[in-house]
Symmetry: C2
């Protein structure tokens, strides 16, 4: 186990595309979408070989914090931090970095989403180990890149240059959500990876980078971090955090830094071939499960009993009922106590729009 490695897990998202199962107080990362453990429990479990429980940090919000603490009893409760207002990744990870730097500037921080899937945990550990070594050696930033399997337009892409060492390549450029033509070109070229949202860097490197590229927010975060562990923390956090810029660490730090050029930016991309899936929709979840169990008809139904006739490629979640699927293909039906979603595999990425509607109509019980 590498000493000094501190995973920081970002768990403030809503995961609205998993409505009606996901709700404001039961976001995607708190659901057991793949197996018995919830997404965040799996995220922690796969990092446990790399860090002690007391070294984990979770950044979330007040709606989710109680359930997260309940699901992750081994972690230190004071390391589960609820943002007073939602902010993007730069302030969230920055706060953890400024707190950790006070203890140990050489602490290596790993930034992890809380709701992704990794199928090869051994490989995950190997790659993380390599990345932690690079991040620990000076002012380096490591980003984990996923080899693209399709011209996805919803992801960010990392363009890599020359080989640096081992599996690591120098990063040339970050490109957010390209259009379909550019995405296809990226995939063809072979020099582009999907941005997994997983980064590694020392506390010193990250805080210095924030101070350089986002000085106002860095100053605020430093003040908040100075009060961490004192009685004043909550009030200071609540007062100053809303003034932090709502910007992602990609935009705030990585893009400007990558502009310094391949050698000077010291950003490295590790090819992360550990079976990554961000489970971005019901359809992605369906495909992930089908990939594991390969049912002949592609139907995945969680129910108390099932009858299918001339049906294929359907995803049905109705765990308490008998489910009959007759003469229908490629639909997604998710049944909960108070809401029923009916969509298709091709359209499930639009489910977030249901939540927008419910928010707008103030149907609070349903969001």
């Amino acid at each position: 186990m590498p000493a000094n490695f501190h995973p920081v897990i970002l768990a403030g998202g809503r995961g609205t595309r998993f409505w009606p199962l996901s709700r404001k107080k039961r976001a995607k990362q708190l659901l057991a979408l793949d197996g018995k453990e919830t997404m965040i429990q799996q995220t922690v479990a796969r990092l446990m070989p790399l860090a002690k429980a007391k070294q984990f940090w979770i950044i979330t919000n007040g709606d989710l914090r109680p359930e997260i603490a309940r699901q992750l009893k081994r972690l230190k409760p004071e390391h589960i931090i609820a943002e007073p207002v939602g902010r993007s990744t730069a302030p969230a990870i920055g706060l953890a970095a400024f707190i950790l730097r006070r203890e140990n500037p050489d602490a290596v921080i790993g930034l992890f989403p809380s709701d992704h899937v990794v199928t090869n945990e051994v490989r995950f550990g190997e790659i993380l180990g390599e990345g932690i070594e690079i991040a620990a050696a000076g002012e380096n930033i490591v980003v984990l890149g996923i080899e693209p399997s399709r011209p996805e337009t919803g992801y960010g892409y990392i363009e890599v240059g020359s080989l640096a060492s081992g599996n690591a390549r120098h990063v040339l450029r970050f490109t957010e959500k390209p259009n379909a033509d550019r995405a296809a070109e990226f995939v063809r070229s072979g020099n582009f990876y999907w941005n997994s949202g997983m980064f590694l860097w020392s506390a010193k490197t990250l805080t210095n980078a924030l101070t350089e590229h986002l000085p106002k927010t860095a100053g605020l975060l430093e003040k908040i971090a100075a009060e961490y562990g004192t009685r004043k923390f909550a009030a200071t956090f609540k007062r100053l955090y809303p003034r932090c810029e709502d910007i992602s660490v990609d935009y705030a730090v990585l893009e400007p830094r990558s502009a310094k050029g391949e050698q000077e930016s010291r950003i490295f991309c590790l090819r992360a071939d550990f079976g990554w899936n961000d489970l971005g929709s019901w359809t992605a979840l369906h495909e992930h499960h089908v990939g594991k169990s390969t049912p002949a008809d592609g139907n995945l139904v969680s129910s108390k009993g099932i009858f299918t006739l001339n049906a294929s490629g359907n995803y049905v979640h109705s765990p308490e009922k008998f489910v009959a699927v007759v003469g229908v293909n490629d639909v997604v039906v998710v049944d909960t106590e108070d809401a029923l979603l009916i969509t298709t595999r091709a359209n499930s990425q639009d489910v977030g729009k249901v939540v927008k509607f419910l928010d707008k109509k103030k149907l609070k019980k349903l969001v």
Copy 2:
């Protein structure tokens, strides 16, 4: 109100194509599929202008009788008869006819399904009135025919000959469920009507016809009828009724009688243009409702709140939930406490197969 008219309503069917809403003890006729009243309550209500409550008879089974009696409190409970075993229409209507003949041989009996829809009740009353007159005048049999709107292969057809009187034509022939080619030919010719399952005849005519064409069963029914109203009835009914032939009145009486020729058979068809629909499936129900309310997108959703996006032609029944339909067309989803059906408008006629499966697997709670 014509004196002597006695509606006999057949209410022993299961209506399995409305599963999961319909169940063994809550068959289609006991459901409020169209408006606030149940199908059987509507059937009785539309006949009420034509007969006194005490003149109605219901033939059903032991599973359904308690709920029918509860839904039809105005009827005489002793007129709601539960068959000890399920039998087709000839024994069922025959029993009522033999009982009624003992009171009054000239009683006109109307046979009615319990689960059909009629949209024009005024016209219904007019046509019934005409039919009752014909049936009361001697050895006549009146059948109500529906002008076919499509080459339906699931119905029986009535071929008519020359005009007899008013709206009545002589019947030439009955043809059960033709293939698609013949059905198309029938519809084109203009001389064919759908058999609505509604018949009118005097008690004397019907019992005589049964005695002629189905003598063994007629003899048994006469014995059972002789005990009606006595303490011995239940035991005799239970003992003799299972020995009655399981045959429809169409096969047993109408087809052989029509073979006597247009004039001699004395079977008359009345064109029943009162907006009939047998609601044979979820799809038929959907189309019936859309026909009445014509929503722009053809979605019919009963729910507590709804959101639709790029969705049309869907039928969703989930009255206790918020329903979201996203990017999906022409599906049928029926949500009940313990079962969830997912099918399409094109395939909902196969829903009966779910019930067959459940019967076979002895999943009694679900049927």
